[in-house]
Symmetry: C2
Subunit: 395 residues, 2 copies
C-alpha cells in the first residue's frame, strides 16, 4: 500500500503481511499446478491446499478439515450457506430468520430468495445493536429451515450472543448460519463452542489476499453446492481452486492465531486512546455499538451536522483513509440500515465514520486523524445550514 | 512446476508464464488494497482491475468492458450463466437445450436445475463430436429459455458450429450461452461474430492463475447474479475481487492474444508429429474428435485393451504427465460420457488418453512420450485378458 497513507480502514483494505507476501511469491515461482491433476504435477498443489486447510481449521477450532470449503470470498460463503440450505430444504419449509443489521451479502441473498417464494422474518436489535435470543426463538416457526445471524457487525462492531442463539436453534432443530466474516482472525473463534452449523469467513479480514474465503459446514448439514461441476472441495464446491490465494490465506490464518492476543491488545489501546481524546477535538457526536462486547479494532462515531462521505473525502486529501461503512456498500448512497436499526436518525446515520485499526497503526496515527478530523468537521459545519450558529465556535 | 516433468496435460495444469508471475509478484509487493474502497488506498487496485478487464475484453473481441464479469473460475462462470438465466426467466419457461458432451460444470448445473423443476433436452452429437444446428432448432420449444452448447470439447477438442446455432437462437429469441472455457486464449474468439449472449472462460486455460475466470454478458441479457451482496462488478457479481488473480489473468490475456498465432502453429506441429509417429509405436487405437475443426493442442486417442488410468500412472512414473480426461472429473471413475456419445464402447472409452500440448513442449517430448507409451501399452496388454494372444508381438 501507499506507505504515506494512514490506513484507518482496515476492514476494507487490509495490507498483506510480509510473511503472506513471501509465501505467495514462493508459490508463484514454484508454479504448483492444479491440485486435481491425475499426476505428479498436481501433488505439490494438493499438499499446499491441505496445509492451508489445516491452518484455517485450527483458526476456527474446527475438528475436521473436510468441513472447511474454500470459496472465493466471504460473500460467496454467505451465498453458499444461505441459498444452499434454503434450496436443499425448500420442501421442508421456506421460512428464514435473520436480523435487521446483517451485511449486504446476507440481506441481498435473502432478498433473492424472497423472489423465489421464501419468506423472511428479521428480528430487531436494541440500541447497542444486540440481537435478543428470545426474539429469535419467537421468530422461529414450524416451517423455519434456517437462522442466519452475523457474528459481529461490520459497521458498529457489536458481537452477537451466537452461543445462546445456537442453543435455541438446536432445540428447535433449525440450521444455524453465522456470517463471521468480520470476526474470524480478529477475535477468538471456536465453531464447536459456538454450536453453529455453518460459519462464513474471509481471508482479507486477517491480512490475507482478497478473493478467497471459506465456509465451515458441520458434517451432516443438509446443503446444496452453489457451484456445481467437478468434484473439488470434497464435492461441496466445484471449480479449480484459487491455489495462490488459499496459500496466502493459510499463512495469514497461522499468523492470526499466533498473534491474536497482541493484535487485540494493540487495537484496544488505540481505540481507548481515540475514545479518550475525541472530546478534545470534536463536539456533538455519539459512539455506536456495544462497548462491552464488540470488535476490538472498530470504532463507529456519528458526528452531528456533517456528512460522513464529505469527511472521508477531506481526510483522503490529508492521506488518511477512513470509511463511512463497508466497502461493499460504497456507491450505494443510502443511509445505513444498521444505524437506522439502532435508532439513529437519518442525519446522524449520514454523519457516521467507521475507524478500523490494524497492526500497522500507531498512536501518532490517532493524533493525526484527530487533528484532521477536527479541521474537517469545523469546515463542514461552517457550511452546514443545520449547524446552530451559537455552537460554531466550539465545532 | 517440476522442471524434469514432461507436461502433456496442459489443459489441467498450465504453468504460469514468466510475465504473469512477474506481474503478480509486483502486485503482491505493491499491496494494492481493495478496489471498492472509498479512498486512495483503493485507487491503484481499481486501476489494475480496469486494466485487466480491458485486456480480457480485447481477447474475446467484446466491445464493452462492462460486459465482462470477473469470476472465480470457468465453473463459476458456467453456473452463473445457466442458473442466472434459468432463475431470472423461470416465469417465462423452464426448458433448456444443451448437448450430450458438455463439461461437468454444465451437466451438473443442469442436473441441479432439474431438481428445481426445470427440464432439459440434450441434443446428440455425431461420431466426430459435432452438434447439428438443425437438432438444436428442433429441440427448441415454446418454453425454452436458454441454449447452452460448449464452444470446444475438453476431452476430444471438437469445436462446435456456434455461429450457426446463434443464428437459430436469435431467430427464436432464446438466450444462448457457450462454455468456451477450453477455447478462450487458445483459438481466436470474437463474441460479436459468434453472436452468443453469454460466454464463459477461465484464466488457467491461457497460462494465467487458477481460481479466476470470467463471464461475458451481452448487455440487456436477463440474468440474475449468482453471488448477491455488494455492488462489485457492475452489480453483476458481489464479493471483493481476487485482484492478484485478475491481474495475472490480464497479463496472460495480453500474451495469449499477441502470441496466439505462434502458439497454434507450435501445437499443430507437435500434434501432427504425434499423429504421424503413433502407428510406429502402438497398434489398435483410434483418434477421437473432428480432424477438421478441433482444438489445435489437443489429441484424444483410445487405445484398445488397456485402461487409460493405468497408462497415466505408468507414464507418471516416467515423469510424463498425461490425462484420461479433465482434471475436474478426476476421482469420478465413470466412463466418459463424451466418448460414449461419439460411439466409443465402454472399453475403448476407458482406454483413452488426452494429450494437450503447451508452449513448453518440444519434439523431444513427443518422442519420449511415444517410447514410454509403447512400453506401457505392451506391459499392460501382456496382462490383459482381453488382448488377443496372436497380436501380442505387435503390441
Amino acid at each position: 500500500m501507499h506507505m504515506n497513507i494512514i490506513n484507518l480502514d482496515h476492514m476494507s483494505a487490509n495490507p498483506l503481511l510480509t510473511e503472506v507476501q513471501e509465501a505467495m511469491i514462493e508459490a508463484i515461482r514454484k508454479n504448483y499446478g492444479n491440485p486435481s491433476s491425475q499426476h505428479k504435477l498436481g501433488d505439490q498443489a494438493l499438499a499446499a491446499l491441505d496445509k492451508a486447510r489445516d491452518s484455517v481449521t485450527r483458526l476456527i477450532h474446527a475438528t475436521n478439515p473436510k468441513e472447511v470449503v474454500f470459496t472465493s470470498s466471504g460473500t460467496e460463503s454467505v451465498n453458499h450457506a444461505i441459498k444452499g440450505v434454503a434450496l436443499a430444504k425448500a420442501d421442508k419449509g421456506k421460512h428464514i430468520v435473520t436480523s435487521n443489521i446483517e451485511h449486504n451479502a446476507v440481506l441481498r441473498t435473502l432478498r433473492r430468495l424472497k423472489m423465489m417464494d421464501f419468506h423472511v422474518t428479521s428480528v430487531p436489535v436494541d440500541s447497542l445493536g444486540r440481537v435478543s435470543p428470545g426474539e429469535v426463538e419467537k421468530a422461529i416457526q414450524d416451517d423455519t429451515i434456517l437462522v442466519s445471524i452475523m457474528h459481529s457487525n461490520n459497521e458498529i462492531g457489536t458481537i452477537q450472543p451466537i452461543e445462546e442463539i445456537a442453543k435455541i436453534t438446536r432445540k428447535k432443530k433449525v440450521i444455524f448460519h453465522t456470517d463471521a466474516v468480520d470476526s474470524v482472525g480478529v477475535v477468538p473463534m471456536d465453531v464447536e463452542k459456538l454450536g453453529v452449523d455453518l460459519l462464513s469467513f474471509a481471508s482479507n479480514t486477517f491480512y490475507g489476499p482478497t478473493g478467497v474465503g471459506g465456509l465451515w459446514i458441520r458434517r451432516g448439514t443438509m446443503i446444496w453446492p452453489l457451484l456445481d461441476g467437478g468434484v473439488q472441495e470434497n464435492n461441496k464446491r466445484a471449480g479449480t481452486e484459487n491455489l495462490l490465494g488459499i496459500i496466502g490465506m493459510g499463512v495469514a490464518a497461522d499468523l492470526a492465531q499466533r498473534n491474536m492476543g497482541s493484535r487485540i491488545a494493540h487495537a484496544k489501546k488505540l481505540k481507548a486512546m481515540l475514545l479518550r481524546e475525541l472530546p478534545n477535538y470534536i463536539t456533538e457526536y455519539v459512539i455506536n455499538g456495544d462497548p462491552e462486547n464488540g470488535l476490538p479494532h472498530l470504532l463507529s462515531v456519528s458526528i452531528k451536522y456533517i456528512e460522513g462521505e464529505s469527511i472521508v473525502l477531506m481526510l483522503d486529501e490529508e492521506n488518511i483513509a477512513v470509511s463511512t461503512r463497508s466497502a461493499c456498500a460504497a456507491g450505494a448512497l443510502q443511509a445505513s440500515h444498521v444505524l437506522l436499526s439502532i435508532g439513529r436518525d437519518f442525519a446522524d446515520a449520514q454523519g457516521t465514520l467507521v475507524v478500523t485499526f490494524g497492526v500497522d497503526n500507531t498512536e501518532e496515527d490517532v493524533l493525526k486523524f484527530l487533528s484532521a478530523l477536527k479541521a474537517s468537521v469545523r469546515t463542514l459545519r461552517e457550511i452546514s445550514p443545520l449547524f446552530p450558529k451559537s455552537a460554531a465556535a466550539a465545532g
